[in-house]
Symmetry: C2
Subunit: 199 residues, 2 copies
Amino acid sequence: VIPHTYLPHENVFHEGTPALALYCVRSGALKLFRRLEHGEEVVVGVRGPGDLLGLRGVLAGIPHATTATTLDRAIVCAIPGESFLELVRGNPMLGYRLLVRLARESRLTEEELVERNHCHVAKRTARFLAHQCRGEALVISTSDRGGLAMTREEMARLIGTTPETLSRTLHGLADQGILRLDRKEIQVRNLPALLKLAE
Amino acid sequence: VIPHTYLPHENVFHEGTPALALYCVRSGALKLFRRLEHGEEVVVGVRGPGDLLGLRGVLAGIPHATTATTLDRAIVCAIPGESFLELVRGNPMLGYRLLVRLARESRLTEEELVERNHCHVAKRTARFLAHQCRGEALVISTSDRGGLAMTREEMARLIGTTPETLSRTLHGLADQGILRLDRKEIQVRNLPALLKLAE
DNA sequence: CGGAATGTTGACGCTACTCAAGTCCCGTGG
DNA sequence: CCACGGGACTTGAGTAGCGTCAACATTCCG
């Protein structure tokens, strides 16, 4: 119940630590990821305003499965786990609504992960870009208008690939006239085509 | 609340159909899978006794995301969705326990899917085999003792690969003396080594 | 201005899929 | 009983997609 402002690239909680609290995103965006033995970072999802983080750990009484890191400036409220659990136990209607929410969320996560297994990088990239520029045409990269500021490295990880492959993919899209690449900015020139690639 | 016995390879419910009921597995095993545009079948999980199927669809009031098909003979109880929801609404403790269960389940699913993205076929195969022969040494294939009866095709789909690749992988393990392959049966000759591959 | 971080590009290799022969097993029917 | 046919399984050759490594260009920033 205590809002806190995080800077970009701060951890809200860390994989493997006890789930002592749950977090409610007020503004900004965060990524949830796991780290493999290899050290590689696997992004499991991106969350924004209205989303709850760490819910499953708190409910199941197990450590957080993922690390939550801010993508940009974000305001996040921490809710102590114990008092939250008491609240839920004392408030059936809240419990029910959480149940519905968790069911929905769980399905979405499953969908995303299955998609990541079976879609090519080009499609995932198109989807990512389409999702960033909701209806509009400007996205990303050390610019501060419209989209997030992020490096190719970060973008690649969100999409689930490497910077090299992402670079090739983006330039491929640019060659088709779908994007316009300028080191600081990715401009969508042909949204319908992008959406078609994203299917 | 009506138990029903299914034969192997019967569908309990089908992806895309309204989630009118939820199902409780009494005995046997089922696979949950999605079908992609391509027509390809993606197995999302395997469920056994004590597991609930279709929970998320019923709770969220959306169609089933997956198809549930029996792997062998299975007894499954159907619980009408509406009466289940009323039961949950009228029974906070039940709701709370479901919440915990869903949280756990959701995490396990996530883990499995992430693993599938990032482990090689050999490792996933080893894991599958190790999971089948819980501590013992015999598994699978038109035999009826110990494991399930299934074709290479089915096994491949559960592991998330093709029959050809699975065949090569199995014979690779056999060459290392870890397995003994006989058309009707896969025999584990070196369980520790198998477990080490499965990590 | 120089060094570091970031982005781009090329060459290469690896994993696993696809396609296409086979081979083996089994049940069927002559 | 044997020949046959079909399905499951195996094996090989070819290939696609993408990651890795390395060289290079560019920008940022002290």
